[in-house]
Symmetry: C2
Subunit: 188 residues, 2 copies
């Protein structure tokens, strides 16, 4: 039996880039064909349909995001410092030319009304991220405070993912984060 000739993860990364930038509706399968170099038939055999490809791309993105959060916090001098680092990284990302917010957030907003299960999936993945923050924060304080702080972090992450589209917003975002999350060990 013949094995697939392409690297599934490479294809998914190209699909992530496309879907992330343009969203589900505005990305055509013909653009996917162009971006991946595969033929339509190969894509449909491997992923079923557009929704299947999108789902797998979303799942991969989410896994990468979770891994990056863990790495950043585990590699920082303290949990709080790690969380600050994550915010700073997100601010840096918003400076890039082709800033794309967060794939999960964009999907959440775009597909909510169609209530297909892609929206459900994005919501679940975002809950997973909140749960991860909560599990870290519970180590530094009691469970209830950790829960509250995780919510506040998510509100600020979501907020900056939208605010980041404003021109020259990096400095203002940082001010807003310091004001809203005063318990974090921000630098001088």
């Amino acid at each position: 039996m013949a094995r697939a000739q392409f690297d599934r993860n490479e294809v998914l990364d190209k699909a992530i880039a496309l879907f992330w930038q343009h969203g589900y509706s505005a990305s055509s399968m013909q653009q996917v064909v162009k971006a991946t170099g595969l033929q339509p038939g190969s894509i449909y055999l491997a992923f079923g349909n557009k929704e299947g490809l999108f789902r797998e791309a979303l799942e991969r993105y989410s896994q990468k995001s979770l891994a990056r959060i863990r790495e950043t916090i585990d590699g920082a001098p303290s949990i709080g410092a790690g969380i600050c680092r994550i915010f700073e990284n997100n601010i840096e990302a918003s400076l890039e030319q082709n800033y794309c917010s967060c794939f999960l957030v964009k999907t959440q907003l775009e597909l909510a009304a169609e209530n297909n299960d892609l929206h459900e999936l994005a919501a679940k993945q975002l809950q997973g991220i909140e749960a991860l923050f909560q599990s870290y924060l519970e180590q530094e304080s009691d469970a209830e405070l950790g829960r509250q702080r995780a919510i506040s972090i998510m509100l600020h992450i979501f907020g900056m993912r939208v605010y980041g589209y404003q021109r020259d917003s990096a400095e203002r975002i940082l001010q807003g984060l310091r004001a809203g999350l005063p318990w974090l060990p921000w630098g001088p």
Copy 2:
């Protein structure tokens, strides 16, 4: 000369409902035709094209939003109390069956990558909302603090517009807002 047979604002309100729920790409002009009851030719004569209709819908939505913010704050016992009221209203909206976040926020995220001027427009309207909050807050404190608090408010509004899609999130959002905006006169 014959006058237009339809009420422009009525048509725009129907367009707002459609575009708000499904977004720009996922709304077809045939859906617009169905929703408004107009024929294609009439729509194109009145609004030029899909982008023109969307632009006018977005502008009308934005004007309504600004007016509602002003009314809420002016009708409240204090500026702070009015802002609390706005947040509470937004939480209530997130409880509705067909919650649609905010038309401006959704547009901002959906159309950023295409960098057409609809995205620019949404960004400008959102800045206008921030400026309105700032002008109120400067009355209650000095200019610099008002500016900072307006940013923090926008971060929280954006945040809750995304977080609101999570199931049974109303209570958690309120907790997060109280934690992140402790200078507002929240109820008991």
